[in-house]
Subunit: 214 residues, 2 copies
């Protein structure tokens, strides 16, 4: 990688062009990579092809993303943040236990839709969560925040009797791993998943409505 970045910022005729902000170049690379990856998947994808598509040198792409995995991680990061954003809003009259059921179900259904409609994107989610990459950890944190908000709302409205505690929130999130974790969803039967999702929500709701839960 000794020629890393060589030739950038200067045209072949030797005239200096205005430097594009690194941020913009990074965004262009990401957008093109996402299109390619959604179409062809991680296995068929290469930085060389991406660079050709962008009319950039592979070295220039490499300056921004050091590997296919780093690109997949950045794409998943955007996807995950957008996805979770959609689950934060609730109509006020819904009671906490029902909110929990709805939130988990929505999240699971979003994954199931991705499996069908964007299978290569979902495959990337599996890779980043298996490899414990930043976007996978961030997704876990966002899910934990989502559950923390649901539990807090339940306690404030007097429906949940448990102690408000980050350990409870983490355990609630872990209890749903088999219906929310990409690794599990990929191979599971949809009807079974829906039944399990509602069953787990009922179990967790019973726990949270018991002052024993701490």
């Amino acid at each position: 990688m000794t020629n890393l970045g060589r030739g950038t910022g200067r045209r072949e005729d030797g005239v200096r062009r205005p430097r594009r902000k690194a941020e913009e170049t990074r965004d262009d690379i990401l957008a093109a990579a996402e299109i390619l990856l959604r179409k062809k998947g991680l296995t068929a994808f290469s930085i060389a092809n991406l660079a050709a598509e962008l009319k950039m040198s592979p070295a220039n792409v490499f300056k921004h993303f050091h590997s296919k995995t780093a690109l997949a991680d950045a794409i998943c990061e955007r996807h995950v943040v957008q996805m979770i954003g959609r689950f934060q809003a609730f109509d006020e009259p819904i009671a906490a236990p029902e909110r929990l059921v709805i939130a988990v179900r929505r999240l699971m259904e979003t994954h199931l839709a991705d499996i069908k409609e964007n299978p290569y994107l979902f495959e990337m989610l599996v890779v980043v969560s298996e490899a414990d990459l930043p976007s996978g950890r961030h997704y876990k944190q966002l899910i934990e925040n989502l559950f923390a908000n649901l539990v807090r709302h339940g306690i404030e409205t007097g429906v949940y009797k448990c102690t408000e505690d980050s350990a409870i929130t983490r355990n609630v999130g872990s209890a749903f791993a088999s219906v929310l974790h990409p690794v599990f969803l990929m191979r599971a039967d949809e009807a079974e998943l829906r039944e399990r999702c509602d069953g787990l929500a009922a179990l967790v709701n019973a726990a949270l409505q018991n002052p024993l839960a701490k």
Copy 2:
């Protein structure tokens, strides 16, 4: 595979030898395969090597097991049955909630010990559970039975207030997926797993002691 089984039952000098029972041959193949697989892992393993080790023709091995995966499945089946057998016995004075904590923890620790001591065996468990093979499904069923017994004991002793129902048992099992499923255990941090295991058991115990759980 046209020469399947050719040469068995008849020695090269043409003298007929007494046929060994198929069951015995199958056991020999399994025992040798387990030794090889525990030592070298599924990737390095081949039926050709196994046949050489057993001084059998590959075709004869193939008569009993049609693939590496079928062999891995049969080995995991034995392992899983032995493993679960060890979790059925309990000293009488232990109350249901504590039994649940102990059972889940023991099961998880057995997996963690396997990851360290028999990594290739554990790798096979991951493969069979990912591929939804019979031994993986059997393992799931045995776990469900284990939880059914724990829940029934809790109800009979008046500690668990939930309805006795196979759906509850399945949900309890699913709630522990992130500390009991081989796919999860492989990549997880041990200290985090132990904390999560105890946290999930506390959550499930709170649910089962609530008459709301159904």
